[in-house]
């Protein structure tokens, strides 16, 4: 079976919009194009109906009610709204937030902004697999804590957090619990009731929906969560997020959630099998490869491997027929290696050598096999070109060298 190049294996970065989703969206551009807030004519009514259907589809995927969903432009906005909205609304009750060192930048940067505005934020360190524990959260809580925000599953290393444990603790202590569930929804079970979640962010383009739309789940009962909006205007979404709803995108988000929820069990098995094929194929063929993140509690499609003595961007150049990403500094504009790798304590050298693969709905076994072959070949070639590998083969302890650095 031949493969079509280039191969896409970066599904944690974004996903292809499922053609079934695109089909459902199209009429809302050219035929049912009304503004869903137009109360007085059929164009508006049709749009509103479609939005309400999407709300319910989304809610079903996470165990919530449609009335608890706010549509946004994406998870970055949802995370901003959750943190800033709760902080502003509950600041009389307290000024302390708890989050983790491995959250997405939009959570970390928002937290930094809140710190500048006078809030205190605790960034919990993670263990070598990238996990925090409910005990850590418990120890960090004070009587001023108003929000705990812990991501459901990590985008770089795939590690899944003990969300249900943390949710239970937060319920006990009467502290609101937000989770950035962008990488989890549609891939692993997410249930806001069973897991004690009060706020949840998700994004369409991570689950085979369109880019530019996401949502924030805001609990309505036990307790009723209130938010100060970060966008002022016409009062849409129960006053929590003004702005005309992006009807076609929302329709796409709803459809993507419904498909993902319905196909999750089977797709999870399939992507897991492909990912294990990839992981074993690579790690069995090459010595000195290290899996980053938890070996078992991780997203079914994610695998993140460090290849000692070979630099990540250099390796990606060699496998340019396969789209992946790297934790190497060379691939970031700041020349800093991934802060997530740093938080794991992996060490900068191995951080520079890491590659993230994201297996998804549309990947095939043939693509996985092609990738394994290509990758193994390139790693071997680059190791032959590596002064570090040469030194190690000569029995030199790299830690003993006084590097010149720069």
């Amino acid at each position: 079976m031949s493969v079509k190049l280039p191969i896409y294996l970066d599904n944690n970065s974004t996903t292809r919009t499922d053609p079934r989703v695109v089909e459902v969206m199209l009429p809302y551009f050219t035929e049912k194009f009304g503004n869903s807030a137009s109360r007085n004519h059929p164009f508006g009514w049709a749009a509103e109906e479609a939005v309400e259907v999407a709300r319910d589809q989304l809610a079903s995927a996470i165990g919530a009610s449609g009335k608890e969903i706010i549509f946004t432009s994406g998870a970055t906005e949802s995370n901003n709204l959750a943190l800033k909205g709760v902080a502003a609304m509950y600041k009389k009750k307290g000024n302390h937030l708890i989050t983790t060192a491995t959250e997405h930048k939009c959570v970390l940067d928002t937290s930094k902004r809140l710190e500048r505005d006078g809030f205190n934020v605790t960034y919990l360190p993670v263990d070598k697999f990238g996990r925090v524990s409910a005990d850590q959260v418990r120890e960090a809580m004070t009587d001023k804590t108003i929000l705990v925000s812990v991501m459901f599953a990590n985008n770089e290393i795939g590690t899944i957090q003990p969300v249900a444990d943390i949710g239970k603790l937060c319920k006990e202590k009467g502290v609101l619990f937000h989770t950035d569930a962008v990488q989890a929804v549609g891939k692993i079970p997410v249930d806001v009731e069973a897991m004690g979640i009060d706020l949840l962010s998700l994004s369409a383009h991570k689950l085979y929906g369109p880019k530019g739309v996401g949502a924030l789940y805001v609990r309505k009962k036990d307790p009723r969560v209130r938010l100060e909006p970060i966008i002022d205007g016409g009062g849409h979404e129960r006053g929590m997020r003004s702005g005309t709803l992006a009807v076609p995108l929302i329709v796409g988000l709803g459809a993507a959630c419904e498909i993902a929820h319905a196909e999750m069990a089977e797709e999870g098995k399939r992507t897991f099998a492909l990912r294990e094929r990839l992981r074993k194929g690579i790690m069995d063929a090459l010595p000195e490869t290290y899996l980053n993140g938890h070996p078992d509690d991780r997203l079914p499609g994610n695998v993140n491997i460090s290849f000692a003595y070979v630099e990540g961007e250099g390796l990606m150049m060699g496998i340019k027929d396969v789209a992946v990403s790297s934790g190497s500094a060379c691939t970031s504009a700041s020349l800093e290696p991934s802060y997530i790798m740093r938080a794991l304590g992996v060490g900068d050298e191995l951080a520079h050598s890491s590659i993230r693969f994201g297996v998804g709905r549309f990947n095939t076994e043939a693509e996985i096999d092609f990738t394994i072959d290509l990758l193994v070949r390139e790693v071997r070639r680059l190791r032959e070109m590596s002064p570090l590998y040469e030194m190690v083969l000569d029995g030199v302890d790299l830690k003993s060298i006084a590097w010149s650095g720069h």
Binding site: E311, D348, L388, W403, G405
Partner: protein, 141 residues
């Protein structure tokens, strides 16, 4: 950003990959960079003791495509040069030749450092202290 053709060419067909024996008196070895920075270059020159010209060069690099290309290009340029001429190689020439984007300029700087380190090591092995008149005299032959 897509890589320039020249970078890809050096990356796919690197020139002069390999190693000389460090115990060879006519070999100078420069090892620059650090694993934590994601860039380590080992560059070696073999100097003809009669003519004083660099007759051969080798490199090994741990780094991105631009780093590999910069060091590969450096070994190409070094062959047939005097040590003086080699010391005069500027990183900006590497940037221009490979069309390195601004964020990759530091790779060319490291290559220039590697050349200088290799020459320094060669001089040390000849028993010429670095930076003395004697070194300048040897270099200019």
């Amino acid at each position: 950003m897509p890589y320039s053709d020249k970078i890809l060419e050096h990356y796919n067909n690197p020139r002069n990959v390999g190693s000389f024996s460090q115990s060879d008196a006519s070999v100078g070895t420069g090892l620059v960079g650090a694993p934590e920075c994601g860039d380590v270059m080992k560059l070696q020159i073999k100097v003809d003791p009669v003519t004083g010209l660099i007759e051969d060069a080798r490199f090994k690099t741990f780094g991105c495509g631009s780093a590999i290309a910069s060091s590969s290009l450096a070994t190409e340029w070094l062959k047939g040069k005097t040590l003086d001429q080699a010391l005069a190689i500027k990183n900006t020439s590497i940037v221009e030749e490979l069309a390195l984007p601004p964020v990759k300029v530091h790779c060319s700087v490291l290559a220039e450092d590697a050349i200088k380190a290799a020459i320094k090591n060669y001089h040390e092995k000849q028993g010429v202290p670095a930076g003395t008149e004697a070194e300048v005299a040897v270099a200019s032959h």
